[in-house]
Symmetry: C2
């Protein structure tokens, strides 16, 4: 083996916090606040020889200020590189120009695409995005919601992943905080909703397998804790029922390995000839299991998944999947939230329900040979 130079590399040293930083909570709180030299509105006012209100008016409304004065103040602002202190504005104005985004995870491309869109639309509209990833941990979600209140968040976008936070959310709504739920909803909360046509997408996916001549189609996924999953299950059931077929489910709790169950099922006397997976995590898990056992798709078992992803077309067997418009979801939700912030006063009127269509992307895992697209619109 050829050798080569090494660069500085010190992972052990830093895998934990620096020793001098392991201070008690108490000591940490007593930490002196760093005094950063800041240019305030008073400095700008002094520089122009005017009062602070004049400067404030220039920064904001610009009404009732002479053109000459605007010029002078703007020049001083530029010269001093003044920037208004958002904390002070927030304190006075009661609401920050910041929206909170709570997602279960960012490792899932569905959520990260969604988050990306949210951040972009918000930025365009002058809002910052405070990001929270709760990793489906119930307590974390509750904690995060309470943090939001602390920080005078203007509104909340949430992919709810815990029934525990119902109480919190309801209370936030009562106090006038606009909330938009994305991808899933929690019953009993008067908030905006942006979802996809889960039932229709699942119906279409299942029907497609039926059209391929499959009769024993297994519905596979992680339980029905979210209503979006329930809707997909219902779409599957309806498609099976319509075709006079018996629905079959393999639904497990989060954390239970699903691969072995499917493999066992495929070795049973009357194995399913096709699988319908309820989300992309399930699809990938199942694909991994099938690959390990070298089960051929779609010859031995066909597969259609809910939720498409970028690399689906480059897989060993390109995956047929129901594409959800993740970025669109985020965009619509953000717009809805900001709309409701603008009309002010809780903006109840603006919080509505949007349901976006899905699209069945035909690739090879369902048994289709040609690559084609069927738009979901009927």
């Amino acid at each position: 083996m050829i050798s080569f130079p090494r660069s500085t590399y010190l992972p052990e040293d830093r895998s934990e916090f620096h020793p001098c930083c392991r201070v008690s909570e108490l000591a940490w709180r007593r930490m002196p606040n760093r005094a950063r030299p800041v240019v305030t509105i008073a400095d700008v006012a002094r520089a122009c020889g005017v009062g602070t209100m004049t400067v404030s008016r220039v920064i904001n409304g610009k009404k009732h200020v002479s053109a000459e004065m605007v010029r002078r103040v703007e020049e001083a602002i530029a010269r001093l590189n003044y920037q208004p202190n958002e904390a002070a504005r927030t304190l006075k104005g009661r609401t920050s120009r910041t929206i909170g985004l709570i997602v279960p995870s960012l490792s899932d491309p569905f959520f990260s695409q969604c988050a990306h869109a949210v951040q972009q639309v918000a930025a365009e509209q002058g809002y910052m995005t405070m990001l929270f990833a709760c990793e489906s941990n119930r307590n974390v979600e509750v904690e995060e919601l309470s943090q939001m209140r602390s920080r005078n968040i203007a509104g909340i976008l949430i992919v709810p992943s815990s029934e525990e936070s119902v109480e919190q959310l309801r209370e936030l709504r009562r106090s006038g905080m606009p909330v938009v739920m994305i991808d899933r909803t929690i019953a009993g909360i008067d908030a905006g909703e942006v979802m996809v046509e889960n039932l229709e997408g699942a119906f279409r996916a299942t029907s497609h397998l039926i059209d391929h001549g499959h009769r024993r189609i297994q519905c596979v996924g992680y339980d029905r804790e979210y209503n979006s999953i329930s809707q997909r299950i219902e779409g599957y059931r309806k498609a099976m029922q319509t075709a006079g077929l018996q629905p079959q489910y393999t639904l497990v709790k989060r954390g239970v390995p699903i691969g072995p169950k499917i493999l066992a099922l495929l070795r049973s006397p009357k194995p399913p000839t096709a699988l319908f997976t309820l989300n992309n995590v399930t699809s990938v898990t199942v694909l991994n299991a099938l690959k390990r056992e070298e089960i051929r798709i779609p010859q031995q078992v066909a597969l259609v998944g809910f939720d498409d992803f970028e690399l689906a077309s480059l897989l060993a067997v390109p995956l047929t999947a129901v594409r959800q418009p993740a970025a669109e979801l985020g965009r619509h939700a953000t717009r809805m939230l900001i709309d409701s912030l603008r009309v002010g006063n809780g903006g109840e009127r603006m919080l509505s329900r949007i349901v976006l269509p899905t699209e069945l992307i035909l690739r090879q895992s369902c048994g289709c040979e040609p690559i084609a697209r069927i738009t979901h619109a009927l």
Copy 2:
């Protein structure tokens, strides 16, 4: 085709902002601030019949308060569901418990994993994460950095994607704001750095192809605008040089399609027998092009990429790739930043340089048959 019920679906209505919301910037600024009923420290104090300072002491230090008083105040806080107003704290204390994270994009799994780790570590340490995705747009990055100052961000984590922001960053550093650069660095800025062994990883990847008997190995990617890419290029060059081979580059500017270039190259008289792609976007682009032309990997051309991803093993030809510890990168950077916040006063001492090792994950695209792992440590 079987028909099924449709749910409410109104995308056109909402593709833009609601008409009533297209207010001028002026009008929007004059929007009345919603008056939200808030429980303040004064309410808690009144409820206990004590002064606000006593309550403040209970919330924070708990020194110099009798046990009985602590009990009474805590009871009142719980009963009233009081939460301190972060804006007020920030205004008084000059620094918020919020860190800013700037990444080029969240659609790239490398960055989204990194962001996820950052958010988690920060949350554990009582910090919120303000997210910014600049989409490699120079002006946006500059704008975002100035927003940070406005919002009294405690510190900045950045995957820098623009030389334009050098000036901004330098000024922020001067004013005592801790900054940690992730994955890439910009010269001339005195900030923390958390990177991977790019040179070594690329050297190893290239050497592996050489060990497979390849002589014409093409280095493919999107220009050298970041130093991490430059280091990878240098690692490739060094490996080629060490083996007495001639390095060959296909480096294009962002936005230029790279697929056609590679295909043209493969049709030339002396085509490369192997490709080394400089990041995962490039790998995927090249894989797409090769698939379209049905070029077999590794028989017609072998491929090793820098940057591994979750689905690499499920691809038509499982990809051999240099794995970067994305989450580790985020974790270390966040720890470094928070360390430096804790020691306070700019925390210069704590801002150091960390370089993490990479790992070459052997799959089939390089020509290796068995699936095995070679740890990068030498």
